[in-house]
């Protein structure tokens, strides 16, 4: 698996994202410009210029027409993907840590950080496609951080935008109604598997197949798989370093975890000790299957190709590595899986 190494950012990556078809790759970093790439060859399509600070998050709608970025410069911006033009900008009271389009593209959520006196909230904006330059400045919904909860670090939409799922600093995950913003339930997904003190949730990514379950990554060195409906922790994937990101692979039953030694300790550890590898776990069996080396800093973000043909990782080292899987990745299966697959094939054939 020889990766394509993309060197377009001057500072640590904060998020990478594929469009729906997987041909275009979006990346944002602590420098103030977002990059758009062709995923197949790593050629840069262009950059999105305009932010004045770290861009924490980027998301693209399913038509690859608009994309949104959230930045530490207290703004959420909307861009035309084709032209790279900034079509709109929402001001916020605090840095925007995460943006996400709803599955129907009509809403955009932005997670406002709890700093500078702001309490922190999730703001939901309506996206006007008729005239992209004219967006409503006011959010249609603001979910304030609850009194009994810590600040929201990440958030995303479940299937059909029915729920907004938010990850908190204390390891809890909360479920809110996507329309009304009403709090429904919360579950402690992290901070219970070990003695770690820092348990903040660093990433939430939904299963590509139907967005009915999602994976969380946490500084507590674990990742968990949670069912949206029952809101129960289904699986736990233990790692040996703080995890910054996690993704569920389509087609194969794997999950990819990324993280590593804290950034501030990076200079004191060597590459091999830093555990800066992408880790592959079996989604169902929770067994670690393999690791992919390459970055020489912690992995801050991973994204999977929607066709299941590869994945991208962005590191603290400022590099993006685009990987396309080898044959062995597709061939790999546990004995139980193989028996199961063969038996069900046979059943189909017999039927």
């Amino acid at each position: 698996m020889r990766p394509i190494k993309l060197m377009g950012h001057e500072r640590s990556l904060t998020q990478v994202k594929f469009n729906r078809e997987g041909d275009i790759l979006f990346s944002v970093a602590k420098d103030s410009s977002a990059s758009i790439w062709y995923s197949s060859n790593g050629e840069r399509l262009g950059t999105l210029e305009g932010h004045k600070g770290t861009i924490w998050s980027i998301d693209v709608d399913s038509k690859t027409s608009l994309c949104a970025t959230g930045s530490a410069d207290l703004s959420t911006r909307l861009w035309n993907v084709e032209t790279g033009e900034c079509v709109y900008s929402w001001e916020a009271a605090s840095p925007v840590r995460r943006v996400a389009f709803s599955p129907d593209n009509l809403r955009l959520l932005a997670v406002n950080d709890k700093v500078m006196g702001s309490k922190g909230a999730i703001s939901v904006y309506r996206i006007n496609y008729d005239n992209v330059y004219e967006q409503s400045n006011e959010p249609i919904l603001v979910i304030e951080t609850r009194e009994d909860a810590t600040k929201v670090t990440v958030a995303g939409w479940s299937a059909e935008g029915k729920y907004i799922i938010a990850g908190h600093e204390d390891g809890y995950v909360s479920k809110y109604d996507g329309e009304t913003g009403a709090f429904i339930e919360t579950v402690r997904a992290h901070g219970i598997h070990n003695e770690e003190k820092v348990v903040s949730i660093t990433d939430i990514q939904f299963a590509d197949e139907d967005r009915l379950y999602f994976i969380t990554a946490s500084k507590d060195k674990n990742a968990t798989l949670v069912d949206v409906d029952t809101f129960k922790v289904l699986k736990v994937y233990p790692a040996d370093a703080p995890m910054n990101t996690a993704a569920i692979t389509p087609k194969k039953n794997f999950v990819i975890l990324g993280g590593g030694q804290e950034a501030r300790n990076v200079t004191t550890t060597s590459e091999s000790q830093g555990k800066f590898e992408a880790r592959f776990y079996h989604k169902i069996f929770m067994d670690e299957i393999g690791r992919v080396k390459g970055h020489f800093g912690p992995l801050n973000t991973v994204a999977v190709h929607p066709d299941g043909t590869g994945y991208v990782s962005g590191g603290e080292d400022g590099f993006i590595r685009v990987h396309y899987y080898d044959k062995s990745y597709y061939d790999f299966e546990f004995d139980a899986e193989r028996t199961d697959r063969v038996m069900s094939q046979a059943q189909k054939a017999n039927a």
């Binding site: 078809e21 599955p103 139907d210 069996f285 028996t339």
Partner: protein, 708 residues
């Protein structure tokens, strides 16, 4: 010290039980009366006529042997001046008396009188009071002794094969366990056999050889089933369907003299001096015995088997000088009471299956045998096919300058390959021709493959028209250190219209030491091996290796080369999954032990065993699956192999086993969890995904030019 007399007086002799001594020294009452016969039914005549009557009777009785002279010979008792109608006669020997009983008893003396001749000893034996019970007592049929299910090993759940291992003095039967050590079916028995152990052709029985004879074993725990008394037996062989066994001992059969020993002795007087015995395996009784033909007496190496069987056990055949003796079973009488005369016959082979001769309507095919006769001064050598029982020669070919002929039947008997080793006119160098008889076609056409080299080995692929030959160019250079053997893989290509048949070389490997060929019992895979004093080597071939570019084309591919220095023997397991190679201490003491390979040549097991002697796979009977069954198994092979792999992994250790079971559970749970949402339809599917054409650039070649 008391005298003997005193002692005697003290002991009451009546209290002592002398029965054992009495029995030991009992005097047989009929001692000496063996020569006498009693003749009843003679005419009653006046005393005056007695001498005449005696003369007549003496003449009559002398037909069976010499009757003693005078009163001692014939005694006619007379009462009231009349002879009593019976008389006593004494023969010179007991044999004559016996002959008289068998020949003369019940014979008429004249129109009115019939004589009844009996031995005196028999009269005493049967006519004394109580010696013969008056009421009929039904003979007791001994209850059937069950030996369990004789084919139980075929029911093994994991379909393993059994293998007998013979080392030092012990023989044990084991389940072959792939990579793991074989698991004992029964603990190795010391002194199980005095020579070697053997399985019957379909694996039902196992045989051990002892100075007194042969024992058969079988059932789940290998209990003794039968004893075959044949003193000093050396060689054994079986009919293909396990009905009969043939044994040979170097010493002739001698009947024991005492009645006690005779009771358990299976052979009658007619077998005296014979060496070759055919047994019925079910009853354990000999069905026919033969003396060794004089030309085979005193040979150092006995050709074996001496009796060859037709594929269905219906006929068996022995070769004598200038003739074949064909016997029909189960009577074991000579077919049509005549030998088949074949001048100069050197060797013959039965077709290993029924031959579907063109125009024949016999179900299951005809019985055919092939034979050859060598060159004589005014006749060429001949190879012929003969149909049995008609004895019709259906095809003959003439060959000349012949030094040797070997007949290789293809296992379905559709083809016979006759390897004719010929010499050049000078007689100094040799080369081979292969003559292929196509037995199922009209007039049995013969196709010819001429080689420049001498063929040293030939082997058909089972159920196929493929074959492998090993040949070497005979140019007078016989340095054994130079590898000069060529291995060629051939297939016969059906001739296109108007063109001669072609034998296509699929692959050819040159300059090897290889001298033996072992096809897997199910074909496709073959091992060619070097079994020589100094070196041992195995080459594993796949003759239908799938060409990656064109899966329809298959090629011969060397899968693996393995070395085994001391190797003396090779044997495929009956399922064609494994190959065992071993070094026996019967040949030498180098590297004694065995190795087990899978069919692709991966070494699974390497065991060094001191004094290792023999490895015998337990044969399996032919499969009961129909060809449709086999097809469906082949179709579902992925399904089966997945399960088998899993079983293998689980067998390896308990931890893996638990892990696999846990994964199965997790997978089931996950599937159940996901099935809840199987009907879930997402609205976002409304947005049609675009098909994106991506242009990928690939650097095919990079050149760096320095321009000056």
């Amino acid at each position: 010290m008391p005298s003997l007399k005193e002692l005697e007086s003290q002991i009451n002799l009546d209290d002592i039980d002398f029965s054992d001594l009495e029995a030991k020294y009992a005097v047989s009452a009929d001692l000496g009366s063996e020569n006498y016969v009693v003749v009843d039914g003679a005419p009653k005549a006046p005393a005056s006529k007695a001498p005449l009557l005696e003369k007549v009777l003496r003449k009559f009785l002398s037909k069976a042997g010499e009757v003693l002279e005078g009163e001692a010979g014939i005694y006619l008792p007379v009462e009231d001046n009349m002879t009593k109608g019976f008389l006593f006669a004494q023969y010179k020997t007991a044999e004559m008396a016996s002959a008289a009983v068998s020949q003369l008893n019940g014979k008429p003396l004249d129109a009115k009188h019939r004589l009844y001749v009996n031995k005196i000893s028999d009269i005493e034996k049967y006519c004394s009071e109580g010696s013969v019970p008056l009421s009929f007592v039904e003979p007791e049929i001994p209850p059937m002794e069950s030996h369990g299910y004789l084919k139980s090993w075929l029911m093994d759940e994991s379909g393993r094969d059994q293998v007998a291992l013979h080392f030092s003095e012990s023989v044990g039967v084991y389940w072959s366990n792939k990579k793991n050590e074989p698991k004992a079916v029964f603990e190795p028995r010391k002194g199980f056999t005095s020579k070697y152990a053997k399985f019957s052709p379909k694996g039902t029985y196992m045989f051990s050889i002892h100075p007194q004879g042969i024992q058969s074993w079988g059932g789940e725990n290998f209990e003794r089933i039968n004893k075959f008394v044949h003193p000093q037996v050396r060689l054994i062989d079986f009919s293909p369907n396990e009905k009969y066994m043939v044994t040979l001992a170097p010493t002739p059969i001698e009947r024991p003299t005492t009645a006690e020993e005779l009771k358990d002795f299976p052979f009658g007087p007619e077998s005296e001096g014979h060496k070759l015995v055919i047994w019925d395996l079910l009853t354990g009784e000999p069905v026919r015995t033969f003396a060794l033909p004089p030309h085979l007496e005193g040979l150092k190496e006995m050709p074996w088997p001496l009796v060859k069987w037709s594929f269905d056990d219906k006929y068996c055949c022995r070769q004598g000088p200038d003739a074949l003796a064909i016997y029909e079973t189960p009577s074991f009488q000579l077919l049509e009471k005549k030998l088949v005369k074949i001048e100069g016959i050197v060797d013959f082979e039965w077709a290993p299956a029924g031959v579907k001769l063109s125009g024949s309507r016999v179900e299951g095919g005809e019985h055919v045998l092939s034979y050859w006769t060598p060159e004589t001064t005014n006749q060429t050598a001949r190879v012929a096919l003969m149909q049995i029982p008609s004895r019709k020669v259906i095809r003959t070919i003439n060959v000349f300058q012949v030094s040797d002929v070997k007949m290789h039947w293809q296992d379905q008997a559709d083809m016979l390959c006759v390897k004719v080793d010929r010499h050049t006119k000078s007689g100094k160098t040799f080369f081979s021709n292969l003559e292929f008889f196509r037995t199922t076609e009209r007039d049995v056409p013969v196709e010819k493959l001429e080689l420049k080299e001498v063929c040293i080995n030939f082997a058909w692929e089972p159920k196929s028209e493929k074959f492998i030959i090993i040949s070497r160019l005979d140019d007078g250079n016989n340095n054994p250190a130079i590898p000069r053997n060529n291995i060629s893989f051939y297939v016969r290509e059906a001739p296109t219209k108007g063109k001669a048949v072609k034998f296509k070389v699929l692959s050819n490997v040159e300059n090897k030491h290889t001298n033996t060929i072992y096809w897997s019992p199910f074909g496709r895979y073959a091992v060619t091996a070097t079994i020589a004093k100094s070196s041992g080597e195995l080459d594993f071939y796949d003759t239908q290796f799938e060409n990656e570019k064109n899966p329809k084309l298959s090629e011969v591919k060397l899968l693996k080369n393995e070395k085994f220095g001391g190797m003396t023997n090779i044997s495929w397991d009956p399922s064609g999954r494994f190959l065992a190679a071993w070094s026996t201490s019967w040949v030498h003491s180098i590297e004694n032990g065995y190795k087990l390979y899978d069919f692709t040549g991966n070494l699974l097991l390497d065991e060094t065993v001191e004094q290792f002697k023999d490895l015998i796979w337990r044969p399996r009977p032919a499969t009961l699956l129909t060809s449709a069954d086999i097809k469906s198994v082949k179709k579902r092979i992925r399904e089966y192999s997945a399960q088998f792999d899993e079983i293998d992994a689980m067998e390896a250790d308990a931890a893996t086993r638990d892990a696999i079971l846990l994964r199965h559970k997790l997978l089931e749970e996950w599937k159940e969890y996901r099935s809840k949402y199987a009907t879930h339809e997402s609205k976002e599917q409304d947005v049609e995904a675009e098909i994106v054409e991506e242009i990928k650039e690939e650097i095919i070649e990079e050149k760096e030019e320095i321009v000056e």
